[in-house]
């Protein structure tokens, strides 16, 4: 779950990380009012995706009239598929230097990594690739968090590559200690897998200010942060309910399904387990078919979930056949079979259904399917060939 910039900044502000003054505007009038209050501001499109600056989603304005005009323009935009629902109107900063401070999950180390660089801004990834020594990293103890001396070591390592900051490094290191500790505590509190300040602005008068913010919350931990999910949903869905996501994926999310749409494909795909479904897609492609989607019913799905999944897939009229690939482990074949038969009968499915079923309770599952006139296979590659035969190849 990726928060919007203004939501991330609201979190920063709550825990005491300085952010520029700003107002959220959902209408041009609100943007004009913000400019009236704050003076010169940047009008920034609020979309959960990068590259909005290049796309024209940011404008700096001097007057309320300009603010109104630019807000009209930006609020009408759609950036990489996301309609702009709101703009963040923010005062500018006198920036002396741009740093980078971020926290992200490091799978290999099984810890959060705290990353600091004196080379902040847009090119941080390039810096990381070409001058890795300019990126200082720390993997704090998961229980203690970053200790002051660890942050100082990180700071002196990062600042060693910024001659302009040599004089100020002691003061900066001292200021970075509470900032990094606070950011880390925030990441842990919110179950963030990414929590980033870039640029972290060193202002002309020596303050450290979060000029931009990214916060992504672990989806497995959303249940611990219902307020964030609610807030984000309000912001992403306008009055028209458009979220900027693929409409099929938005619908699937509403139905609680793990679904990825592959527009233009003709074969609907259902399986139990992400690896199996990914492999199902690969198999279809290998024999010349075009999958329409990825749908993982997960482990232990019941008949109802199978029914819902089939109904979901068939909302895309491009789907001309469905491949259901089940290797039961925690999932039980009989449950799946019941769901398939129910769905076919209740939804009046007429496109071909090819079922591959093996694993837990497969005997009972295959009996249920056979009695309903659906002949299941046991080999996935064979079943893939069969569905492609029935639907026709790519194109």
């Amino acid at each position: 779950m990726k928060l919007l910039e203004y939501q991330a900044k609201r979190q920063f502000d709550r825990v005491g990380i300085e952010v520029p003054s700003g107002r959220l505007a959902r209408t041009p009038e609100q943007a004009a009012a913000a400019a009236r209050e704050l003076g010169r501001v940047a009008i920034k499109a609020q979309v959960p995706i990068g590259g909005r600056g290049k796309a024209g989603g940011i404008a700096v304005v001097d007057t309320p009239e300009e603010a109104h005009r630019e807000a009209v323009r930006i609020l009408a935009m759609e950036i990489r598929g996301y309609p702009v629902r709101s703009v963040w109107c923010e005062t500018g900063l006198e920036i002396a230097h741009e740093l980078y401070l971020g926290i992200t999950l490091d799978r290999d180390r099984r810890r959060l990594a705290l990353i600091l660089s004196a080379a902040g801004g847009m090119e941080i990834e390039e810096v990381a690739a070409t001058s890795p020594e300019r990126i200082a990293k720390l993997w704090p103890d998961p229980f203690a968090g970053p200790r002051p001396f660890e942050v100082r070591e990180l700071a002196f390592a990062a600042l060693a590559h910024a001659p302009a900051l040599t004089e100020a490094r002691g003061r900066l290191a001292s200021a970075l200690v509470p900032l990094a500790q606070t950011l880390y505590r925030l990441a842990v509190e919110l179950d963030a897998v990414t929590c980033e300040i870039n640029p972290l602005a060193l202002t002309a008068d020596g303050r450290l200010v979060a000029a931009d913010g990214k916060l992504e919350v672990d989806e497995n931990a959303e249940y611990r942060h219902p307020e964030l999910a609610t807030e984000l949903a309000l912001d992403l869905e306008g009055e028209d309910g458009r979220t900027g996501e693929d409409p099929y994926e938005a619908e699937a999310k509403r139905r609680g399904l793990t679904y990825v749409h592959l527009p233009g494909g003709s074969i609907g795909c259902i399986g139990n387990g992400a690896g199996l479904v990914m492999n199902t897609l690969d198999l279809i492609q290998q024999v010349g078919g075009r999958p329409n989607n990825f749908l993982d019913i997960g482990g232990g799905a019941n008949a109802e979930k199978v029914r819902t999944s089939l109904a979901m897939i068939l909302t895309d009229p491009d789907v001309r056949g469905v491949f259901i690939n089940i290797f039961g482990g925690i999932t039980r074949g009989d449950e799946v079979a019941r769901g398939i038969v129910q769905a076919r009968d209740e939804l009046g499915i007429t496109v071909p259904l090819v079922v591959r079923m093996t694993g837990t309770n497969e005997v009972e599952g295959r009996r249920i399917l056979a009695e309903a006139g659906i002949v299941p296979g046991t080999s996935a590659p064979e079943a893939a060939r069969k569905i492609v035969e029935l639907v026709g190849g790519a194109g």
Partner: protein, 291 residues
């Protein structure tokens, strides 16, 4: 021979009275796995499926000599259950729970690093040593005692590979589903050395997928350790669109290390045979096993 579990393994089930816990305990019992204890706080002194229940893992271990924890509790409680099993001194834990918050696992893996426990999972299908024992979800009928070690991230592809190897007559020494989460108790590089120490394992099938760098690190280990048995690898998710989340939290393409091609290249360079399909996996295994 086998790795991790065998006929002598004594299993303790955390969550034995849950719907899934009960079902899979029965499946394990049917397979011949020795399930010696269940742990359900507040229900100690009771019994289910012929298995005594205890309030705490420590008590269950003291009273039954359990040596392996099978953790099948809801995600909000799973990391704590794993830590309890580790604190009780169990050398092996297998956690199948899906959906555990990743920072819970960051803390749990840090905790168990200071204990004797080796953790498999979470979000994994478990472990099977055909003919001896299985712990987890791997369907009872797919395995067959044999010559090939299996280590896989995806649960269902683990089943596919086991079935393929069994039907072709090669069979498995032990099959290990390590799980698909971003933070895992054991990754390929933790399991491969166990196969290296098992003389009965004549070849290893490694089933990876997009995301993370576990496959690249496995390739590096194969190369640097001088692992002397054939490795046949399979990487799923090759047609996955970049940046799309594919259900497994870990299966997100991130940088060059996460891509399917990067993994295939790394494994090939390390001398592994990389197959395009499960059928090809089985064929390549057959070509490489001594007749």
């Amino acid at each position: 021979m086998a790795i991790l579990i065998d006929v002598s393994t004594r299993v303790l089930v955390q969550g034995i009275t849950g719907r899934e816990g009960g079902f899979h305990t029965q499946q394990m019992q049917a397979y011949g796995t020795q399930v010696v204890a269940g742990v359900v706080p507040g229900r100690g002194g009771g019994e289910t499926l012929g298995v005594p229940i205890f309030d705490t893992v420590a008590e269950a271990v003291a009273r039954t000599g359990a040596d392996t924890a099978f953790t099948i509790v809801p995600p909000a409680f799973a990391a704590d259950a794993v830590m309890e099993a580790a604190a009780a001194g169990l050398p092996l834990g297998i956690c199948v729970t899906e959906g555990i918050p990743v920072l819970d696992m960051v803390r749990a893996t840090a905790f168990i690093a200071g204990t004797p426990m080796r953790l498999i999972g979470p979000n994994c299908p478990g472990v099977m040593t055909p003919g001896q024992a299985k712990i987890g979800f791997i369907p009872n009928h797919v395995g067959r005692p044999g010559r090939v070690g299996v280590v896989a991230r995806s649960g269902t592809l683990t089943y596919e590979v086991i079935q393929g190897l069994s039907e072709s007559g090669y069979g498995e020494t032990t099959a290990v589903g390590i799980g698909g989460d971003p933070v895992l108790g054991s990754t390929f590089v933790d399991i491969l050395p166990l196969f290296a120490d098992d003389p009965a394992t004549e070849a290893v099938v490694l089933v990876g997928e997009i995301g993370g760098s576990d496959e690249e690190r496995a390739a590096e280990w194969i190369r640097s350790s001088g692992f002397d048995r054939p490795v046949i690898a399979f990487i799923s998710g090759r047609t996955a669109p970049p940046g799309k989340r594919m259900g497994h939290a870990g299966a997100i393409i991130s940088g060059s290390t996460g891509s399917a091609q990067g993994k295939i290249d790394a494994l090939t360079a390390a001398g592994a045979a990389v197959a395009d399909t499960i059928e090809e996996v089985v064929r390549l295994v057959g070509e490489r096993l001594a007749p």
